[in-house]
Symmetry: C2
Subunit: 194 residues, 2 copies
DNA sequence: CTCGTTCGGGAGCGATCGCTCCCGAACGAG
DNA sequence: CTCGTTCGGGAGCGATCGCTCCCGAACGAG
């Protein structure tokens, strides 16, 4: 009953994710959001509650798309050094490494901007981190089982190491480091581990 | 000539650094700064110009204190695995690892919040990064020369690897990961490299 | 059709933002 | 001392912030 909406809620969340991703929470105004989502204030607030709740929605949306894609990329990767390198590069640099996208990783940006003070935000960033770690652990375990890395290697320690490295590469991407430099940094790092 | 200032400019910059460090640029208001620096608006603006210029001053101050201290810690460290571990832990976790300080690293926070769009800020974050890399390269070269790591190891590649790891650990500290967990992550990582 | 409800649109709320201006007071120079 | 300049203090500027309210229009249910 009643008049149906003239917009798609998921599309709006997707657009809001882009804005928060690029500008961060505090630098994004509700007018920025209204413009990007093509929504007037009344529709925006009736649908999403307030700015913070919309931000939490975008974190959930990011996890369900970008973070899950990254996790799947590890699970689908060949259990070889080259497969690991390509998967890590894809995750660290974003899906299309060509685009001059200085957005980095939404979760990394959010963790740095908001710290661990807001429990709802901290829980979501940690969930996204868990996805990355789970994908890495899967790939590294398969590599060990297929003899690509030594049997005595501890996949959990390697996962923690590569996870921390990925955070660093994502931050470097956000800071404007050239994708070429990051790519070669990734290749050198994985070469050192092999 | 004329009336002298009733406050110390360097002390004010130091206090401003703390505020920006914890809250970030956009979440810090000029009234926050006035309160923390014990300065009224007229004194604040006459002395520092505007919010952005004061922010640049705090980045310079951070480099001259925290970043330089971190660099020196590497240069003064014993060229052993234990020396490396302790120095990395000190830099990644901050000077006093005891305090529950969720501030992380000011440079990492700033790079994530502001991206690489503002040239003045990007140049300063890169300079701070250079200090960390220089200290690391010095220690790793000394470790190679003293036979602590293989002669065929490339200090530049190792420097890049550990630098990226440190960014990751700093971000994890900001995100609220327990110092104990980060410390053991550091020990495991350096153990894997040795 | 009528009726109830949610819609899109827009004006505009009070609060806070970064910052400016004006003032008398407090110095140093001479 | 006088005089010139910068000081500390505070009111308050215009702009923007997050958000609310009110409206007629547009539907679905019956």
């Amino acid at each position: 009953m009643a008049r149906p909406r003239g917009f798609d809620e998921e599309t709006a969340v997707h657009r809001a994710t882009d804005v928060f991703w690029r500008k961060g929470f505090h630098a994004t105004s509700t007018r920025d959001l209204g413009e990007a989502l093509e929504l007037n204030p009344s529709s925006l607030y009736r649908t999403f509650g307030d700015k913070r709740r919309l931000f939490l929605r975008t974190l959930d949306h990011y996890r369900a798309t970008e973070s899950s894609d990254g996790c799947q990329r590890f699970r689908n990767a060949n259990p070889t050094m080259d497969g690991l390198t390509d998967a890590v590069a894809a995750v660290a640099l974003g899906s299309d490494a060509q685009a001059p996208d200085p957005a980095g990783c939404f979760v990394v940006n959010t963790a740095a901007e908001m710290g661990g003070t807001d429990p709802d935000i901290a829980r979501r960033t940690e969930t996204a981190f868990d996805l990355t770690r789970a994908g890495l652990a899967d790939l590294l375990t398969r590599m060990r089982d297929s003899g690509e890395i030594p049997v005595e290697a501890d996949p959990h320690k390697l996962t923690d190491l590569l996870f921390t490295l990925i955070l660093g590469w994502r931050l470097r991407a956000r800071a404007g480091h050239a994708p070429r430099d990051i790519r070669s940094s990734i290749e050198h790092a994985i070469g050192l581990l092999g």
